[in-house]
């Protein structure tokens, strides 16, 4: 391991660090309300009994602390190491995905988890990391032959790297994660550049394949997409999530109903209000103003991440930073789009805010890697 050069701290990105911490702290405040239960005695991971009225908030705080450690780990690992072990990471994640397909735990009708003796592992989180790293390596190793943009033949191998885990994850079924995985990979390719003609051909091909793909979707997935078009058609069934979420968001109006005053949330009309629909809680209790605040924080985070990407001195680091940016960005847009009725309900958490350890650790690890890229940007000068 490269010794920690003192210069690396000179390039520590304070902007990224601040947004990385402020967003989950804001999230904890929202979660305190969303998970509020006056009689809540939290049994913390089976070890301590704590009297705290919001289990989700307390556990998330613990995840955040652990996540900060994991983020430090991401910072400490040299970018070079990721380059070196990228295929290993990708291969390991792929193996885990296969293991899930074989003997994963079924939760809510989908097979996403591996039970590792009291500890559940979600291999698709590993695959996000594996794919970003691998795509960065593949694309930086094989830049477009004309030096400007890829042609179709050059995209076959990267496309293969994206497609295999996507299919495995979509089969679980976890449409949201598969989709975000695709967006990240494709985003990295587009960042480098694709010929217009090729792009057009691919888009047309995707559209042509849309119908058979639609046929392959599960009934409930089809229904969710249909319900998006007309949520009121089934207010008690598939449309319930979207309808209740829109009521929660809309009823927040400009300034919200007040902290812990959201009736949709507190009376549990809103489903999944600590996890996927946590944004609705924010919208209901903090109103439009609160929503803009969070969108602003995320925008700040993206600006910091893109600045780091743009200041790198090598393609791999750049694509690595950009890949994580796209990952978080895709999650934010899909999640918020979902809760305000712009996208189908696909079960994607809101990064850094939704309650959940896996997501928190994985996102913070990624942010640690991006911080690491920033810190080491001068280390790899062209020889």
């Amino acid at each position: 391991m490269t010794s920690l050069d003192k210069r690396v701290f000179a390039h520590f990105d304070w902007g990224l660090a601040i947004f990385t911490l402020v967003i989950p702290l804001f999230g904890l405040v929202v979660l305190f309300s969303a998970g509020y239960d006056a009689e809540g005695a939290v049994n913390l991971f089976g070890f301590f009994k704590v009297n705290f009225p919001s289990a989700a908030c307390l556990k998330q705080a613990v995840y955040l602390l652990v996540g900060i450690v994991v983020m430090g780990l991401g910072m400490a690992i040299p970018t070079q190491t990721f380059y070196r072990y990228s295929f290993f990471l990708y291969g390991a994640a792929l193996l885990l995905l296969c293991a899930v397909a074989g003997f994963g735990v079924v939760v809510n009708g989908s097979r996403r988890w591996l039970d590792l003796g009291g500890f559940n592992l979600q291999p698709s989180e590993f695959m996000k990391l594996g794919l970003i790293v691998t795509m960065a390596r593949v694309l930086s190793k094989r830049p477009p032959r004309d030096g400007v943009s890829y042609r179709f033949s050059e995209l076959v191998i990267p496309g293969f790297f994206i497609a295999v885990p996507m299919v495995l994850i979509a089969k679980q079924p976890d449409l949201g994660t598969a989709l975000s995985l695709g967006i990240v990979g494709v985003g990295q390719i587009l960042f480098v550049g694709v010929r217009r003609k090729t792009l057009l051909a691919i888009v047309l091909a995707v559209l042509a394949l849309a119908y058979p793909a639609w046929e392959m979707l599960h009934d409930y997935q089809q229904r969710r997409i249909l319900v998006l078009l007309d949520p009121e058609s089934d207010p008690k069934g598939s449309g319930y999530h979207i309808t209740q979420s829109k009521i929660a968001v809309g009823s927040g109006e400009l300034f919200g109903k007040g902290y812990r005053q959201g009736t949709q949330t507190q009376l549990e009309f809103l489903p999944e209000h600590t996890t996927d629909f946590v944004f609705s809680v924010l919208a209901e209790e903090w109103g439009f103003v609160g929503c803009l605040l969070l969108l602003g924080l995320f925008f700040g985070l993206f600006v910091s991440m893109l600045r780091i990407a743009s200041r790198t001195r090598d393609t791999f680091s750049c694509l690595l930073a950009f890949g994580f940016t796209v990952q978080i960005f895709a999650h934010v847009v899909i999640n918020i789009g979902m809760v305000i009725g712009l996208m189908p309900v696909v079960g994607i958490p809101l990064p850094l805010v939704s309650y959940g350890g896996s997501s928190m650790l994985s996102i913070l690890f990624g942010l640690g890697i991006v911080q690491g890229v920033s810190m080491r940007k001068l280390q790899y000068r062209p020889s």
């Binding site: 009736t263 743009s310 090598d314 950009f322």
Partner: protein, 628 residues
Amino acid sequence: MASFERPSLNVNSRAWIALGICAICLFVLALRLWHLQIINGHVFRDRSENNRLRMVYVPPPRGLILDRNGEVLVRNRPSFNIDFVTEDSPDPEQTVRALAEITGQPADPLIEKLTRQGKRRMYEPKLMLRDVSRDLVAKIAAQRYRLPGVIISVVPARDYIHGDLAAHAIGYIREISGEQLKNPLYAGYRMGDVIGQYGIEAKYERYLQGERGSQAVIVNAAGNKIGEAYSHLALPGSDVMLTLDRRLQEVADRALVGRRGAVVAMDPTTGDILAMAAAPRFAPSIFTSEVSKEAWADLVDGKENKLTNRVTQGVYPPGSVFKIFVAAAALSEGVVTPQERFFCPGYSMFGTRKFRCHKHSGHGSVDLYEAIVQSCDVYFYMVGQRLGVDRIYQYAHDLFEFGEPTELGIGDESSGLIPSTAWKAKYFRNPEDKKWYPGETLPVSIGQGAITTTPLQIVRGLSAVVNGGRVVKPRIVRKVVASDGRVLEETPAAPDMVRKLDLDPQILDKLKRSMVGVVEDKRGTGHRAGLPEIHGISVGGKTGTAQVASRESGNKSEDHAWFAGYAPADNPKIVVAALVENGGHGGVEAAPIAQDVFAAYFGIPDPPPESKATLKKKPALVVEVTRD
């Protein structure tokens, strides 16, 4: 390491493009949020309130119904209803089947109730069974685990303290029907509301109903009540005080037990109905719980017609009671003097047709007084011919209001019919039938033929004779008092007069003296209506035995028995009409009923039949059963 070389791509511009796309996406999200929260925010705010609040309606206690002295006739008692919140049951039909099994009810009608929607909010309880017994409540409570969503609610129900007392006047209440809900008259009512359907309950529905209270209950998504947002108390209905006298009503009701007929008593000066009894009766309480098909069929079917208020809806030929009004016409028109005598040989010839007097041996020579007292038919055949049918019509209809409803206002009223040449010309098609034949006037003169009246019309007409010629409008409600004591409606002390008859007081006096003779004269047909002499209250009246056209004309008991009378004779306070369908002789069947009512009115202990005034006077009287 080639890959760590300075990238050949223009990273900066790409980052800017990426930032632009990022900004656009976030802007689209913000735009959508603006649309949801600012533009449509109030809509969603309403919907979130709707989600959170469940309106629970609290039925108001219905107003009381009191008699004229303030004695309670109908009040409320707590009752148990079985309601069902379908949203709380995973399988509503299965739950209803279980409920049917536990209660021993057929399941199908209950399941049918499930499908009747009407205006209904989500989670609003649906009424399944009304007024169930405590035993059943206990059974249902014990099996609650089988009945998710089934609720036992306590609501006020009608308590008929006196059973079926004055059932036709009071009426009944029942759940509002689908047609009624669509009727703008019932705007504001909801499915499951119980409303007056008949009698006073229906007529004064808006007063008696009161105002429904409501509670906005805060519920969570599971539908459990977790608090109360606000509530409006139910406003009890207003009390309706009737003109009926409970004691008198009881006597009238009792007199008709086992008979079909009507008894009505009225204050001749004010028009206050003191008693209104019709038989057979129904028990209003059967409408409190579910009415079975059999019970309903029994109420509306066949000859019984239990729901018919025979006082206002029953039409009968008045028979000899009508002679009073014919006599009034004849004297006023001067076609006969009180002293003029006719000879009754027991029949009267009209052309080749023989019209019989009820006393086949004949009354001999009779003047007006004797003709009324003995109810001589021949006398009135003669007088009727002198008057002609149209003059009879003019007096009976135009002056005494026969053939016109009394507008008492409780339920539909029959108008009855007084025939005339104009009526016949209008209502018959065949030119032959349109003509009035003079021979047809004869039966009309004795209250037979096409003529029909209601018992209430008889009372109204007789009141006009005995109160000095004032035709008053009968009334049954004294006042309406709101729950806070405000008097909402009060009938004035002065009667609502239809008209003042311009009749010679001497003529009225002559008629009254004749009517007293009917009861008190030794030859009178109505002596059974008289009160014991020692009380000093003399009674006047007129009997009637109306022939009913029947295939079995040989059967004497087909005749309707009538008695219409008043007391005290010198200053009438009460006018009574009693009718017994197919009862036979008015003097035998109807007069004792009137006597009972008079006795009750004047507080005279029920005299045994033998102690009756006229009988005391003439213990050896041969009770000649005559058809008067």
